[in-house]
């Protein structure tokens, strides 16, 4: 059996004349916690809705657990759980009644599971209190409880920690990590809280204006978000070729003014400087820079960035 359990190829969604998702392709391996990262309106929720079958793609294909036809996709979705946008629940019914309705609708025989998941998300003491009197955080927890009801193999969560207090965020994070580690649940999660995502995800998909701008693993992201050297010289045009040919440095980027950011061999600055001098390139500015995830995000999906960088294809890596 293939390790890729979600595969999306050239997925497109168009509303009237506006394309909100443009030829998106990615694969999710079993066991991954994949973060779907992007600004508002980037197309994250639409992608999740297409995976869930509530929005129909205009083009492209979706493969879930190897199934691509309508019947197979519907069956595959029964092995998944979704929480998309604000968790929806019947306002006049209690948390337990909402889950009971969900249990009946999913045809689950185990009534005891409701108490179990309510306890897990900390809503077991809400009794007959109607959901309309719940805080947003409580509704989020109820949504997660609903997603956990079936013991899914994949959870697709859209902004699951929105509205939660810091304590709640930690609890949900620990819960998701536990589900991933102990029950091998694969998770596709979107969030604006990038710092929070960095504590969870094994892989990332950065999306902007409906297009994937980069796919990379947590290791790659960490490497790119850690220290890097910014070097400017009297001969910036010769610098990239020298770094590649003389030092074998490949992970660097060239800024508009020709200066260079080097992401690898951070501890070899002496050697880099020496090689530059030997090749007649005199550094005019060298300084170490410590980028964080937010900075990286802004650099990647911010309005000024127009370059599409494929990075490492996380699905291709597996294939």
């Amino acid at each position: 059996m293939s390790d890729i359990i979600i595969s999306v190829n050239d997925l497109t969604k168009q509303y009237m004349k506006k394309q909100v998702v443009k030829n998106v392709s990615f694969g999710i391996r079993r066991g991954m916690i994949c973060g779907l990262v992007g600004p508002n309106g980037a197309g994250k929720t639409t992608i999740m809705k297409m995976l869930g079958g509530i929005v129909l793609p205009t083009g492209g294909s979706i493969e879930l657990f190897g199934e691509t036809d309508e019947k197979g996709l519907a069956h595959s979705r029964s092995r998944m759980s979704f929480m998309i946008e604000t968790p929806y629940a019947k306002a006049n019914m209690s948390a337990k009644e909402n889950l009971e309705k969900l249990r009946l609708q999913k045809g689950l025989p185990d009534k005891g599971r409701i108490e179990e998941v309510l306890k897990t998300v900390g809503l077991s003491d809400t009794g007959s209190k109607p959901v309309k009197s719940f805080s947003l955080g409580m509704k989020q927890r109820l949504g997660i409880a609903g997603a956990m009801l079936t013991k899914p193999e994949i959870m697709v969560l859209d902004e699951p920690v929105n509205g939660l207090d810091p304590e709640g965020i930690v609890e949900i994070r620990e819960l998701l990590l536990k589900l991933n580690r102990e029950e091998k649940v694969t998770i596709l999660i979107s969030s604006h809280l990038l710092g929070e995502l960095s504590l969870l995800c094994t892989d990332y998909i950065f999306i902007r204006h409906g297009e994937i701008v980069r796919k990379l693993s947590a290791e790659e992201l960490n490497r790119q978000c850690h220290e890097y050297y910014h070097i400017s010289t009297d001969n910036n045009t010769a610098l990239p070729a020298m770094l590649e040919n003389k030092l074998g440095i490949k992970e660097f980027s060239v800024r508009k003014d020709g200066s260079v950011d080097i992401y690898e061999r951070i501890d070899e600055i002496r050697l880099i400087s020496k090689t530059m001098f030997e090749n007649g390139i005199i550094p005019t500015e060298i300084h170490i820079h410590d980028a964080n995830l937010e900075e990286y995000y802004m650099k990647l999906v911010g309005e000024e960035n127009v370059q599409c960088d494929e990075g490492t294809d996380i699905s291709a890596a597996e294939k």
Binding site: I54, A74, S81, Y88, Q105
Partner: protein, 264 residues
């Protein structure tokens, strides 16, 4: 589909709206049937007389019940988008749609039967059936109303899936009920036609449940009200055909809309 139906019934039983609508309908039925009971003689309280005379009020109660419960079952989960969870859980769109359609039809048939038969049963048990119409004629009329009722429910199922808003369905149903009351009557004045039966469900109800030709008859030394018109076979066939065709068309149209619709 069975799971969707079970979940819908569970939800309906826990919905305060269900009990409010039923209570109002019960009060209305009680008032209509029992308000001036003391002023009536016994021949006006027998089952057949009650059936012959309660048609027009029953039409109103039943059509309100049909709209209310159809919108509640089919549209209740669309307003708050909880219907999305059924699709996300891998339930096929056909099951989501037809599961609700079946529950709507079942609930409407059940409650319509209750509100039609309950007063009828009471008066028949207490005062007897009487001679205003035969038992067979009464049963035929009640049975025939099932088809326009199913057709009307199917129309509102389609409308609810089309509009996805209960209040819009209520508003349109109100306007349509006015149209359905006035237009067939107007057409009937001008032409002798059964064409209106194919377009207006209310006209079907009206022709079955509201006898047009009733007069005094002499029976057991007493003048009693007797229904003289029998249901014409061409009208009965028209009602049956329009009921079946209309139900199929409305349900399939509703499904065609829902099947390819984004549930944003």
């Amino acid at each position: 589909m069975f799971n969707v139906m079970k979940a819908q019934i569970y939800q309906l039983l826990r919905n305060r709206g269900t009990y409010i609508i039923l209570t109002i309908a019960l009060i209305f039925t009680f008032c209509v049937n029992f308000a001036d009971i003391s002023g009536k003689n016994e021949t006006e309280l027998v089952g057949s007389y009650v059936l012959a005379n309660s048609g027009s009020t029953n039409i109103v109660i039943i059509s309100v019940l049909l709209v209310a419960f159809t919108a509640m079952v089919c549209g209740g989960d669309m307003g708050d988008r909880t219907i999305n969870y059924e699709l996300l859980a891998g339930t096929k769109r056909s099951d989501v749609y037809f599961g609700r359609a079946i529950v709507s039809l079942a609930v409407n048939i059940l409650f319509s039967a209750v509100f039609t038969l309950l007063p009828l049963l009471y008066f028949t048990l207490r005062y007897g059936w009487g001679h205003t119409m035969t038992v067979n004629d009464g049963l035929a009329r009640i049975t025939l109303t099932l088809l326009p009722m199913i057709r009307m429910t199917s129309f509102y199922i389609m409308l609810t899936f089309l509009l996805r808003n209960n209040f819009a369905v209520y508003a349109i149903s109100y306007i349509l009920s006015m149209v359905e009351m006035l237009v067939p009557a107007f057409i009937s004045e001008l032409f002798d036609t059964t064409a209106t039966l194919y377009i207006f469900s209310m006209d079907c109800f009206d022709r079955i449940m509201v006898p047009k030709n009733a007069g005094l008859g002499f029976f057991d030394d007493e003048d009693i009200m007797v229904v003289k018109d029998v249901i014409d076979s061409s009208i009965a066939y028209s009602i049956i055909i329009s009921g079946i065709v209309g139900t199929a068309v409305f349900l399939l149209l509703g499904y065609a809309v829902f099947r390819r619709r984004d549930m944003n």
